[in-house]
């Protein structure tokens, strides 16, 4: 039996209210490519962050043994010292520096603090050759494509004499050709230089192609580890492991009362705001009936948030085209204000940075989107404001000392209820909910589902964006599936299952 390079024993990591990792044991043999697969939020990235010291020793329980030695990493630098390097989904390169500078950032070829540039360039060229980069080392990182930037990251890891290389979704942002190159490079590094790899990926077919072992994580626990040539290496087998959880009744009862099509989007196209040659939303059309809850499923980066935000008064994107029809009338939405006026609401994915004003109290947050409703001649009636926000606080059961409490002091669930109150107060007809229950405990989730159901009962159109498939399956009447900026499938509640949705996404990726 080969030597075990990494042994993670009984790792448990909790965030406030959530157990992200529950007694995880992971063994990696020297010289293998080990894949971690699982749904969004299953705990893959958390596990790798524990390993690389992003979450320092003491914030989790359990132990890490690397090359036979017990390790207590206080930060990423500590883990790099023993030869563990992690490449995150979002690249950590400085775009205004050259390739050579980036490769040796924080690891400069210097004596007494003075950098030897000739040596730096020479070494950079050697490392670049290893990863297949032929650029001049003095090229700025911003001038090379994302696929090559990924290679620079790997060269950077190699410069630190990496023994264990961790890649978090390395191909998520790459096109097919770049992905293919990257995978070949990983195989080469593995075979020729003996570097052990841990790769996290949503693209199962890639994993099947390169991995020696595949470990499936679900709900913070390891489900199984499959070995090449021992176990069956097929998509069906892996997907079953990923989603094989029983649905318990975590969702309130509801009898849908669905009417005619009330909101319709046709041929919606959006380009990236920073790069207007990159299409982010690719001719998307969908509709929502009154009283209907429509889910949009997809992996992270599929373009769901971008779709919702671009519809919400062009809050995202450039060169937007397409038609939006509500109640038979075509809408012209030039700004967020227009969108609110026409009865649209968008509950953001990230309530802390984009949903709430944390230093303001509950009252001022609730009325912010519709100050016109509590003011006369642009003068706000504090009394009226107090009454309406107090009423909403009671109706949505926001637990706080009162409407004068700052929203930054509330729990996640209660913060989300404030955001919902704000948009209920705006009296919309169409509500986009982007990850409405992210980071919220189970009890509050149930309450938020109840609120959503009530809104649907009033004949509003609800569009639910969620990365949690059970949630989508639990409360939606109809599901659109998005991938890479396109709608790649549509299912009724009856025909939808986690396996079907996953399959639909994976098949469309090819």
């Amino acid at each position: 039996m080969a030597e075990i390079i990494l042994d993670m024993r009984n790792i448990t990591k909790t965030f406030p209210g959530v157990k992200a990792l529950d007694n995880v044991n992971l063994q990696v043999e020297k010289g293998e490519i080990h894949a971690l697969v699982g749904e969004n939020g299953a705990g893959k990235s958390t596990l790798m962050n524990v390993l690389s010291g992003v979450y320092p020793f003491g914030t989790y329980s359990g132990e890490i043994v690397f090359e036979g030695k017990k390790c207590e990493f206080r930060n990423v630098k500590d883990s790099e010292k023993v030869g563990i390097a992690i490449i995150h989904q979002e690249l950590a390169l400085n775009p205004f520096m050259t390739i050579a500078e980036n490769i040796f950032l924080c690891n400069e070829c210097a004596r007494n603090g003075i950098i030897n540039w000739d040596y730096t360039r020479q070494e950079a060229r050697k490392l670049m050759k290893k990863v297949g980069l032929t650029e001049d080392p003095d090229t700025l990182v911003m001038d090379i494509g994302i696929g090559k930037q990924q290679l620079v990251e790997i060269a950077k890891a190699l410069s630190k004499n990496v023994k264990l290389l961790i890649l978090d979704e390395p191909t998520a942002a790459l096109n097919d050709e770049d992905s293919n190159n990257l995978l070949n490079l990983l195989l080469e590094l593995n075979q020729e230089h003996g570097i052990t790899c841990i790769i996290i990926s949503h693209k199962i077919y890639e994993v099947i192609r390169i991995a020696d072992k595949i470990t499936v994580i679900r709900d913070g626990m390891i489900v199984e580890t499959l070995k090449r040539d021992v176990d069956e290496f097929s998509e069906n087998r892996i997907i079953k492991g990923m989603v094989g959880r029983e649905l318990v009744s975590r969702f309130p009862e509801r009898t849908p009362n669905i009417g005619e099509v009330r909101f319709e989007v046709k041929d919606w196209v959006v380009y990236d705001p920073l790069d207007d040659s990159r299409m982010r939303i690719n001719h998307v059309s969908f509709n929502v009936r009154s009283g209907e809850i429509v889910g949009i499923a997809g992996l992270m980066g599929a373009g769901r948030t971008e779709l919702a935000m671009s519809l919400f008064g062009k809050a995202y994107g450039r060169k937007i085209s397409g038609t939006v029809i509500k109640d038979g009338k075509e809408l012209v939405l030039k700004s967020v204000r227009d969108a609110i006026k026409e009865g649209l609401a968008y509950v953001t994915e990230d309530r802390k940075t984009a949903g709430l004003i944390l230093i303001d109290n509950i009252k001022r947050n609730i009325t912010l989107a519709r100050l016109d409703k509590v003011s006369k001649n642009l003068v706000i009636s504090e009394e009226l404001e107090t009454i309406v926000s107090e009423e909403l606080r009671q109706r949505l059961n926001i637990k706080a000392s009162g409407i004068y409490q700052k929203t930054g002091e509330l729990s996640g669930g209660n913060q989300q209820k404030v955001v919902l109150s704000k948009w209920i107060f705006a009296e919309p007809d169409v509500i986009f909910l982007d990850e409405p229950t992210r980071g919220i405990d189970v009890g509050s989730k149930y309450e938020i589902y109840s609120i959503i159901n009530k809104l649907a009962e009033q004949g509003k159109c609800i569009v639910l964006i969620s990365s949690e498939l059970p949630e989508i399956l639990g409360i939606c009447d109809r599901i659109y599936i998005m991938n890479e900026g396109r709608i790649v499938g549509e299912m009724n509640k009856a025909e939808a299952s986690q396996e079907n949705i996953m399959k639909c996404i994976l098949e469309s990726s090819r």
């Binding site: 919400f312 008064g313 809050a315 700004s335 967020v336 204000r337 969108a339 609110i340 968008y346 953001t348 940075t353 984009a354 949903g355 709430l356 004003i357 944390l358 230093i359 303001d360 109290n361 001022r364 912010l368 989107a369 100050l371 016109d372 003011s375 642009l378 003068v379 706000i380 504090e382 009394e383 107090t386 009454i387 000392s401 009162g402 004068y404 409490q405 930054g408 002091e409 704000k422």
Partner: protein, 390 residues
Amino acid sequence: MEKHRDVFRYNIRQYGMLFALIAIVLIFQILTGGILLRPINVSRLILQNSYILILAVGMMLCILTGGHIDLSVGSVVAMVGASSALFSVRLGLPASLSIFLGLLVGLLAGMWQGFWIAFVKIPPFIVTLAGMLIFNGVNNIILNGQTVLLPKLYITIASDSIPDFFSVNGLHLTTVIIGVVCSVAYLIAQLIIRFSKIRNGYEVNSKQWFMTKTALVVLIINLFAYWLARANGLPYIVILLVVIIAVYSFITNKTVAGRHIYALGGNAKAAELSGINTRKVMFWVYANMGFLAALAGIVFAGRLNSATPTAGQGFELDTIAACFIGGASATGGVGTIIGAIIGGFIMGIMNNGMSIMGISTFWQSIIKGLVTILAVAFDVISKSKAKARY
């Protein structure tokens, strides 16, 4: 009761500043041997600081939008002074018209900066740094390095008191009467508001609290009026200041525009996704700053009796310090007009008190710098403590 505690906690920083002001007054009252609070010195203190207070009101709005500052206010003050000389002396226009045109010049300067900040998205620090250079250049071109005497109206606005109709033993009786009238008006207004709230079933503060507060305000108004009456009477500039403070406090507290400014500073992204036109808000905040800087420029020119090329130098720094001492947050979204005024007075009293004591301007500068650091440190520390509790 719960609610009162919340409201109190929300305002604790404000009260803290008020206590700091009272403490500084008492300290300098003792250190100057009672000169600080003599009627004539109180009057002088207000006249000397009026233009900084006007600037602080506008600067507070800039800081509220996200901790941004306006470095150009000193140059705008100088440029408007120079324009006044141009309009009233060189072109011979009537003084009132040239004041109006001077305000227009300031407003245009503010709109110019607002355009680059809001629509081209250049950081305010850079735009106003450039503005500082540009407006200072304009000022020097107009004045050509000379000092120009201004018409009487400018001096009246900046330094004179209202005429007295019935003086008694050197006491400016008109001022006392105005004080009484104002306090009665205040009392009636408060009662009307309170009863209409009760009639409509809204919550009101307890009776004792209401009575104590109203009585205190009435007392302060009358004492202040009496004090000024013992000096030269009520200066016009005090009327102007009261109007400015009242109008801008109303805007920030009670209007949609004010709420938009706070929301932008509290979380720009959330504000934008709530339908607030953040560009428009930024534009008007800086345009307004230009307008108030012009007003300060006219007052300052009046105080000096003339337009001089070096007017306004360093005003931006005193103004910004006043706002931060007065409780503005360096990241925006927190601060009040009254806070800016209190901060301005703290700076002014330190200047005045230390000058009376004969402390050199070099030491004055060091002490003012230390006070600014301490005031903000107090804010930062109390905030991080508050965070630790939750």
